[in-house]
Amino acid sequence: MSVELDVFVGNTTIMDKEVYQLWLNGYTVNDAVTLRIEGGVMEECEVLLSDTMDQYRTFQMCERLLHHPAKLANQLLFQIPPDRQAMLIERYYAFDDLFVREVLGKKLSKGTKKDLDDVSSKTGVMLKSCRRQFDNFKRVFKVVEELKGPLVENIRQHFLLPDQLARDYAAIVFFANNRFETGKKKLLYLTFQDFAFCAGQLINNWTLGAVDNMMEDMDVDLDKEFLQDLKDLKILITDKDLLDQHKSLVCTALRGKTNVLNEMEANFKNLSRGLVNIAAKLINAKDVRDFFIDLVEKFIEPCRSDKWTSVDVNLYLTHYTNSAHILDTFKHHSVWTRYMGVIKSCILKMYHE
């Protein structure tokens, strides 16, 4: 004796958030039932099994629509209230920070997808869920790749995602597109949110879209002209006078405001060289990839070994940036501001004491 067929269809599609989450997390029906019993929703296994299967079926049927969230709103098959639709989309596109940290900056290719089982066992995120998340990244990437206009806005409109999630996706796309290296050992201490913040800074300030929203080029690539201009900053380290002058200005300004003034003074030339060199090299795609590792190696690590606090770093970078404008012979003020603004906020975000 067995139930051969068992379906429940509501005029308004009934979806249980909890079951949806279990489905998204990649649990099988049986595991989900076990978890639900443990959760205490209901004791009767039979009822739960029937309900869970129904819901899983519904989700599977919806999945096709979730790949193009705009379709969800004007499809006729399921009558889903808008708040539910929003919930479905948001959760479908939600991802595990642990997982995304693993694939951030990697090429969203078949090869990467094949390695997902390793990522799964490493992060503890179920393979099924990993695949969904990976496919989401890839899908979003493919769609926005060909679109003009602001990246975040494009993602939000095409995938109907809430603002924060759209920003995160923008970061993922941006990282994947520029293939930023994030997996090196030295970078492992950084969370996805750290990177997402930096990506936001870069998107907002260093891409073509940052200068002109209407440009036909998109937000995904860095502004080549700007990168070219960055080379001019080299003068700050190549011109000996300028370097000294800069140093003295900074140190004077910092006097009495920090406990690590000596270290700052001693390291000034090193640090300045590091930052300016990063700027100068960004024109090469390969060096763009190493942007974060460079920041850590050339700036964050030295500071950390000298036990600077975040406040110290902030103070230092503020004066370092501002002082350059006072230098008589330094003419590249706008490029400098554009560059240092991003560098400063990235470093501050990445600087974990």
Binding site: M1, E4, N11, T12, I14, L76, Q79, R84
Partner: protein, 1101 residues
């Protein structure tokens, strides 16, 4: 050429990829009506083609307009090979043929393919221009309105209820034609779909003709069914109740019309025009009289193929009803003689007043309160009421002659019809006088091939037989009409069980007679609405009426009083005096197939009661098989009845409403499922307990066992009384829980069955002298039975369930509703199951299904599952299929009203409703513009800010509630209009302002890749979702926002997992409507009236 059908193909979207190479589609559309086909241009390389075609015009007979669907086929153009079909859309244009329904069909409709399901959507515009042609009603019946709703539709008023209409058409099933061997499954499915579309259209047209012939303009309670008889053909049959309906004016224009204009003005003129031949009045100008004048002769007609002789005979005495009245009732005589001046109903009012002030000597003084009430509402009802009261009381004897006379009077009105049957399940107040009990008839037939589709005589004769039987049962119960009537079949191979059932009743002649009778309760209770719009209710009348309303103390017990003669009871029955009025006799239990009358006085709440039974049967062929089934049926019914009765007692209740007994036949078993809603009618005596007794009293352990069981039963009864809040006001004669069994009898249920053309055999279901309260445990079966009785799991807290329209005892519905369909198929792997074992399996299946439903819908708590409609079938040997369609409605717990107030509050509420309606008129433009464009609703919400806020609201609220709150408001980002669906005839918290026409759709879905589609469950899940989607889309295209009285009449599922195949047929129906939220109606009104309404509203609730 009386009609021009115009169609325009606008665009497509979400089309499937038909060309693998380009991942695109070159789509074009064929529009076909009858034999004429038009084509659009090919829109190359797009999944969202914009055809924007010209208007395709079809000039056709209106007969064809009614029969044929508009067929739209979307194809992919292929230069080298044959064009591939993407899918089809069938559009029923019937709603466009009635001026009161929809005017245009416009919107996105799913493109459906029987193999692939929904494949994108197409945007179409369809219009119909009907020409004014006096002769156009020859073969067609355009303009007759059809309603699935089994009560008078909400925005109409019944001027007249004419009675039963039925029709059936037969054809060969394309699936069984020889050509089916060589055509593709798709072609075969499409042939079938199209044929059924055609047949339903034809059926509807024919029924419409009958209605027009009777002088009606609408069919209410329209029930259409398919019998898939396999080799022997396909039968589409329908029954309904012909009515003359009048729209309760909702247009602002009506309010400002000169007072002499007719309120029935907006009823389409041709409806009456049909009366033309032979009826001189029909050519007159539209006047308020017309409906009544026509009705004056309509009862004299009788409609059935077989009745030609009686037809002529009856037409000779068209006014029988009136003649009966004259001798004893001068007031009424004057009324009948005043036929030419019926347009002045208040003319005879004075006469009536004098009548009531000087009651004839026949009336007894104790009935004067009731008389007073009645006298205000209507004189004739007064008489009937008085007679009804007299029937059971001590004073009744004196009233004998009058009673007989009056009985005769209504009876004769009804007898003129061949079948005094009504498919309605709820009636205008005052219509239903007495209920006798359930009458049912079954017959087992052997199917043979239908040789000539044009002469469906055999099928007709079968039903004829059954209806006659029902009629004779009704007479035996002393009743003259059957209400809540329905018919059904169950087919297995060549055996077919035909069933019919209804409730024997005595009706008031008010709606069946001619004359100025339309000033009914409803009207008199809403003087405000009509004093402006209609001449017929003048101020004087209004005030009298409202006076009458205030004085009216609804007894709510009248319908319980026995209709049969106490001294000549058709069966042994236990009668007591009515617990409400103490004057008339009532039975101890009452079984009915109708909804609980609104005026009924009940105690506590109701609940769903089901009796389930499974009986094994030997495999057999032909006659032998039919005989075997025929022999099993009485036992099956007897046991179902016993189960029902026991379960009813166990819940401490005394009446069943909405009783539906379904018997399903399979090769090796018979299934019986009886569902009903149990209630405690205050008028009926309190039910005694259940007594268990053993056969061998000597054994001590055995006795202990029995006393244990007895205790359990008593506990359950006590608990149930608490759960359902059954605290009868006082118990006088009976001692509750008395262990002394009282004699009673149970044969409220009449049935019989005949094998083929066998003689009708009647079986008395009563337990004879044996006491039914006593359950004798003489064998293990009985023990099992009692266990089964006790193992019905209780409904979880916060849930109620019923199979009627509304839950007795619950009123304050919120607007959160959730309609659903659930299907389960169960495989019995154990071949050698005993009856008992099967029973348990079947019962568990139903119980588990209910449990699942409660769990699924837990977020709506406190809520009630209404109209829980179970359908059982045996699709194959060893398979049991149960399908449920119902609606979950949540209610406000705090405000649950106490029973005593209910009827009063209800009617007050009704009055307010009607006042609101007037308000609505003033704002009709506003609200309708709001509604007519679904985009209007959505655009507001596409604001980013609105969206953000709605996201934030993705809320902890139970889903149902939050859904309902935003139901009709701006929908952020959504471009699809929300369409509500409900099996009920109303939407809580909303007012139906327009009926757009009937939805009657039939779909076939087939797959040859069952596994890939998620197995049988995945396949059916998708299909049901698709059916819902198509219903919603068609309703939205008609301009509607809800389907009421929705039902899934057929769900035939067949599978062949070995071949990876499955096929399913679904037939659904309902009424497309436009509703507005009551709150919106209020909010929208800025006129001074709104204040008045709101105040009165406040007073009312």
């Amino acid at each position: 050429m009386p009609g021009k059908l115009k169609a325009k193909i606008v665009a497509g979207r979400h089309l499937p990829v038909m060309d693998r190479a380009s991942d695109l589609t070159d789509a074009f559309v064929e529009v076909k009506f009858g034999n004429v086909t038009f084509k659009t241009d090919v829109y190359p390389k797009s999944l969202n083609p914009q055809w924007n075609s010209e208007w395709f015009k079809f000039e056709v007979d209106d007969e064809d307009l009614q029969d044929e669907p508009l067929q739209i086929t979307v194809l992919d153009h292929d230069t080298y090979s044959a064009n591939d079909a993407i899918g089809k859309v069938y559009i029923d244009i019937d709603p466009l043929l009635c001026s009161e329904a929809a005017t245009v069909i416009s919107g996105w409709l799913p493109i459906y393919d029987t193999i692939h399901g929904i494949r994108g959507e197409i945007n179409v515009l369809v219009k119909v221009d009907l020409f004014n042609d006096l002769n156009r009603f020859r073969q067609s019946s355009c303009g007759v309105k059809f309603f699935c709703t089994t009560s008078i539709p909400r925005c109409y008023r019944a001027v007249m209820i004419h009675g039963f209409v039925e029709e059936l058409v037969v054809n060969e099933d394309p699936e069984y034609q020889w050509i089916d061997r060589i055509r593709t499954p798709r072609a075969s499915n499409e042939a079938r779909q199209r044929l059924i579309f055609l047949m339903s259209g034809e059926l509807q047209r024919k029924i419409g003709l009958k209605v027009l012939e009777m002088g009606g303009n609408a069919v209410v309670g329209y029930l259409q069914c398919f019998d898939l008889e396999g080799e022997s053909g396909l039968v589409v049959r329908a029954i309904g109740t012909a009515c003359t309906l009048e729209k309760i004016s909702t247009l602002p224009a009506t309010a400002t019309l000169p007072s002499n204009s007719s309120p029935s003005k907006d009823i389409k003129e041709p409806v009456f025009g049909e009366e033309g031949p032979g009826v001189p009045l029909s050519s007159g100008p539209p006047t308020p009289l017309r409906a009544q004048t026509f009705s004056s002769f309509s009862p004299s007609k009788s409609y059935s193929r077989q009745s030609s002789s009686s037809d002529t005979e009856l037409s000779l005495t068209p006014k029988t009803a009136r003649i009966f009245l004259s001798p004893s009732t001068p007031a009424l005589e004057s009324e009948s003689s005043s036929l030419p001046s019926v347009h002045l109903p208040h003319h005879f009012r004075p006469g009536m007043a004098s009548w009531s002030s000087t009651p004839p000597p026949l009336h007894v003084s104790q009935s004067d309160t009731a008389m007073l009430r009645k006298s205000v509402s209507f004189s004739e009802e007064l008489l009937l009421a008085a007679s009804g009261m007299g029937s059971g009381g001590s004073a009744g004897k004196e009233a004998g002659p009058l009673k007989a006379l009056l009985r005769q009077q209504t009876q004769s009105a009804l007898e003129q019809r061949e079948y005094p049957f009504f498919t309605l399940t709820s009636f205008p107040p005052g219509f239903l006088l007495h209920l006798g009990g359930v009458v049912s008839a079954r017959s087992v037939k052997l199917l043979d091939r239908i040789h000539n589709p044009d002469e469906p005589e055999t099928r007709d004769a079968w039903w004829e037989e059954i209806r006659q039987e029902i009629k004779s049962h009704t007479k035996a119960l002393g009743c003259h009409a059957v209400v809540g009537y329905s018919e059904s079949t169950s087919i297995c191979e060549e055996v077919c069980i035909l069933s019919a059932s209804g409730t024997a009743a005595i009706l008031s002649s008010r709606f069946m007679q001619d004359g100025p009778l339309e000033t009914d309760h409803r009207l008199s209770r809403q003087p405000l609405v009509f004093s402006t719009g209609s001449e017929r209710v003048d101020g004087d009348m209004g005030s009298t009426a409202s006076l009458g309303f205030e004085e009216m103390v609804p007894p709510g017990c009248e319908f319980c009083h026995i209709p049969y003669d106490e001294l000549n009871i058709p069966f042994p029955a236990q009668l007591t005096y009515c617990c409400c009025c103490r004057r008339y006799k009532v039975p101890d239990v009452l079984f009915t197939t109708i909804d609980l009358p609104t005026e009924a006085n009940i105690t506590g709440k109701g609940c769903l009661i089901q009796a389930r039974l499974c009986r094994t049967k030997k495999k057999a062929q032909g006659e032998g098989n039919a005989m075997a089934i025929s022999n099993l049926l009485p036992f099956l019914e007897y046991e179902l009845h016993t189960q029902l009765m026991n379960k009813l007692k166990l819940r401490g209740m005394n009446a069943l409403f909405g009783l539906r007994i379904q018997i399903s036949v399979g090769e090796t078993m018979l299934l019986g499922l009886a569902s009903a809603t149990g209630v405690y009618l205050t008028a009926l005596p309190s039910p005694g307990g259940i007594q268990v007794s053993g056969k061998t009293p000597s054994d001590i352990t055995y006795e202990q066992h029995i006393s244990n069981m007895q205790k359990k039963i008593n506990d359950t009864i006590a608990k149930n009384k608490e759960v359902y809040e059954i605290n009868p006001p006082e118990v006088v004669e009976e001692i509750i829980g008395s262990p002394i069994p009282e004699p009673r009898q149970r044969s409220r249920l009449f049935r019989s069955h005949s094998e083929s053309s066998d003689e009708v055999s009647e079986i008395d279901l009563s337990h004879g002298k044996k006491d039914a309260f006593v359950l004798e445990i003489d064998d293990t079966d009985a023990v099992e039975d009692i266990h089964a009785l006790l193992t019905d799991s209780p409904t979880p807290a916060g849930f109620y369930s019923c199979n009627t329209e509304i839950m007795p005892g619950i009123q304050n519905w919120t607007s959160a509703i959730q309609m659903f369909t659930s299907v389960r198929v169960f495989r019995l792997n154990n071949v050698n199951l005993t009856n008992q074992g099967l029973n348990k399996v079947f019962s568990d299946l139903c119980e588990n299904l209910l449990k699942s439903l409660y769990f699924k819908l837990r977020s709506l708590v406190p809520c009630c599952l209404c109209h829980l409609n179970f359908t059982v079938a045996i699709p194959e040997d060893e398979l049991i299929q149960v399908a449920v369609t119902a609606v979950a409605m949540s209610f406000d717990k705090e405000l649950t009203l106490e029973n005593g107030k209910q009827s009063g509050d209800k009617s007050l509420k009704k009055e307010n409703d009607e006042q609101l309606q007037f308000n609505l008129e003033l704002n009709a433009e506003m609200s309708s513009s709001n509604l007519s464009s679904p985009k209007g609703l959505t655009e507001v919400g596409s604001h980013p800010s609105a969206k953000a806020s709605s996201l934030e609201k993705a809320s902890p609220l139970p889903e149902g509630r939050s859904r309902s709150l935003r139901s009709n408001r701006s929908y952020s980002g959504s471009s699809v209009a929300v369409v509500r669906m409900t099996p009920l005839s109303f939407i809580p918290g909303a007012k139906i302002i327009k009926y757009l026409g009937i939805i009657n759709m039939f779909f076939i879905r087939e797959t040859t890749s069952l596994k890939e589609e998620g197995g049988v469950s995945g396949f059916l899940h998708t299909f049901i979702a698709e059916v819902f989607a198509m219903v919603r889309a068609h309703v939205a295209a008609l301009g509607g926002n809800a389907v009421v009285s929705y039902s899934m009449k057929e769900c035939v599922f067949m599978e062949n997992p070995n071949k990876n195949q499955a096929q399913c047929l679904i037939n659904v129906s309902g009424d497309a409507v436009i509703f507005v939220r009551e709150s919106e109606v209020e909010a929208a009104s800025v006129h001074p009236q709104s204040a008045a309404t709101q105040t009165s509203n406040g007073e009312g609730t």
